[in-house]
Symmetry: C2
Subunit: 407 residues, 2 copies
């Protein structure tokens, strides 16, 4: 019932997606550092790739028409007029009934329109016998067949893949313009929180969320600036916030009690910030805060480790993609499977269920992991999560569900 | 037919998997550098996580039995005997009919076995009225409920995930023992190959494979030492090989002509190496070489960019996982979909087909990308690949196939 006063998941996603983000600064990085970086400009081919017609095999460059009808018993005869090695200009012209030997990757001589593989040729006096008809263009890669001059090879806003590096190198790029990695400020707060290296006293626990949040943020291609653990006090939190001014986004990872959340919102407001929402109609993740301070997005993350990680995966990572300059792309496909057991949920709340996925008799089998949201060990064993929409009261065994990955 | 003399895909995988690999040296890295690194020792909990019983909500710690029968009209009355903030020892004991206020994350006082949420409580004179019955253990996380003392929290041979960082921090680890990143030596060879920064002359092309191979190797958590481009000559290749002595694996990325491959095998043999196989019964990727030199694995990769990347993804990355110290794990699930069109293949050859995946009317729809193996731009658009086994002659539209990811 208290959930009714909170922001829905859809509205939260909309508010976060419409939070204004300035285009990130651009820098050049060498190819060997470009994987996973986001292209700041589209890459247009200034030349054809490959730059010339190449043989795809070791064999004989000929005019295809001269091979028509050739077979084992009635081979076609060709005069050998030369040989072209790789890396050299093809100075020979292939005339009717002529063959030129080409190595794989060699430039195709003018006049030829196909290459007969070695295995379909046998030496004859002064020439070669071809025992198989060739299609026009067979075993040849045309100039520009990979990329044509003027074609956009890779679009701005794309995260560069290892394969893309080869394409970029082919086009003569040794460095590419990419967006600077966003810097995310992180504050841990909570009277009960001690750093990982400390021996917790009575009632104290080690800081878990700083490490999962930092890890998820870094794995998503952002830098992390950690401001340390703040006491549960408006002054202490405000001071840490000020130390992170200039970051591209700020994360407050703190306790989950109402009192602790109130310190966070008060600190943001004291510095002139504005709370966009406080409290989400989701489970786990209810005590999430989203605020604006110095035109920067501030996320107040829930204290329970699973809640915290879920909110990061579902609401923060898409925002970080925007900060990185990634162009939003609708996913082409989804991972779907059949639920193994019933999962209860509360009508009116969007719930996230950790799951394991395995091959089942009819496609994928999806097994929910039932554990409290304070229990992080189960999250590190999960393959992904399933969303139960607000408007549903639980999911039933045998129902088809979509599984979303973590991170 | 020539394929009959080559090594089958299954035999190649077996030979690569049985190539002896020494256990990698171990180093300690701080948590913030541990993501994707492979644990060299299992992580055992030296203490319970959480270390004490914690409240999961803001509310009233009570004995559950005292709430039985409580509801809106007939609330149960409790004497308030104190309040426990987070981060503090719970010095109070909860007796029958008593309630202690606890914040989320606070230590549960002795005697209490559950916490009533704020919203089911209302202040009364000298105490609080509870309007809902509580289950024993409700809203409480028990000591050790996340991880128990002595339990293996993370196993040796696991690549650390961002979520694992939180678990490690909870257990008091600020650094973890991981295997050293393998170093992969890389040689490009081929008369026709010029570096990415060069303007190719007639018959020349820029080096594509060095960049895709380096990118795939780095993205798979290995370091790359690039020895440069060698001329097509036994001496030149042997010299580069010697410069890479000490690397954990060596990759020769070269031309695809028989002549170029012969230079590679001759260079390996001149240095005392042994060719394990030369030529695979696969497409693309036929001219693959696997050799042993100075007890180190040497891969001769095909020259066509798609062939080269495919062989890396399918045969090299599993080997690199072993070099990284990753414990082999059978995948729990596979991505399956229905093929959109017929795909021809040759009986007796294992073929790899690049595909795109999208949501279809009956599960995933798998669309083959038809392009020559010299054309790398198609690979950067593919979602994965499908294997056509040796024993099949093509796949048919509507057939269910497994899609494997790249990298």
């Amino acid at each position: 019932m208290e959930f009714l006063t909170f922001t829905t998941a859809a509205e939260a996603a909309r508010l976060i997606a419409s939070f204004p983000v300035a285009p990130p600064p651009v820098e050049e990085v060498p190819l060997e550092q470009a994987t996973a970086r986001v292209l700041a400009s589209s890459i247009t081919a200034a030349e054809d790739i490959p730059p010339f017609r190449r043989s795809l095999v070791d064999g004989y460059a000929v005019k295809a028409k001269d091979t028509y009808g050739a077979r084992e018993g009635t081979p076609a005869f060709f005069r050998m007029t030369g040989r072209i090695g790789v890396g050299r200009a093809a100075h020979i012209r292939v005339g009717d009934g002529e063959a030129v030997y080409v190595a794989t990757g060699a430039m195709l001589p003018e006049g030829a329109d196909g290459v007969v593989m070695d295995e379909y040729a046998r030496p004859a006096s002064d020439g070669v016998e071809i025992t198989r008809a060739l299609r026009k263009g067979e075993n040849v890669c045309l100039a520009g067949e990979d990329v044509r001059t003027g074609q956009v090879a890779l679009e701005a806003g794309r995260a560069v893949s290892p394969i893309d590096l080869g394409l970029l190198a082919a086009l003569g790029f040794t460095a590419v313009p990419v967006y600077r990695l966003p810097e995310c400020g992180l504050i841990s707060s909570g009277e009960e929180i001690v750093p990982a290296e400390a021996i917790p006293g009575p009632g104290q626990v080690r800081d878990i969320n700083t490490h999962t949040v930092s890890g998820l943020i870094r794995a998503h291609g952002c830098r992390v600036r950690f401001a340390g653990i703040a006491a549960d006090a408006v002054d202490a939190i405000a001071e840490k916030l000020v130390s992170l001014k200039g970051c591209d986004a700020i994360f407050l990872s703190g306790g989950s009690s109402k009192g602790q959340a109130d310190f966070m919102t008060a600190a943001v407001e004291r510095l002139g910030g504005r709370i966009v929402f406080h409290g989400l109609n989701i489970r786990p993740g209810k005590p999430t805060i989203f605020a604006e301070l110095w035109d920067t997005a501030v996320f107040g993350l829930p204290g329970h480790p699973v809640s915290c990680a879920m909110v990061v995966v579902r609401f923060v990572l898409p925002f970080l993609s925007r900060l990185r300059g990634e162009r939003a792309q609708a996913p082409r496909w989804s991972l779907r499977g059949l639920l193994e057991t019933n999962v209860p949920s509360t009508y009116g709340i969007e719930e996230y269920v950790r799951v394991n996925v395995s091959d089942g008799p009819e496609g994928l089998s999806v097994t929910p992991i039932f554990a409290k949201s304070a229990v992080i060990s189960t999250l590190s064993k999960a393959d992904g999560y399933v969303v139960i929409p607000e408007g549903k009261e639980g999911l039933e065994a045998g129902e088809e569900v979509e599984v979303l990955p973590f991170g």
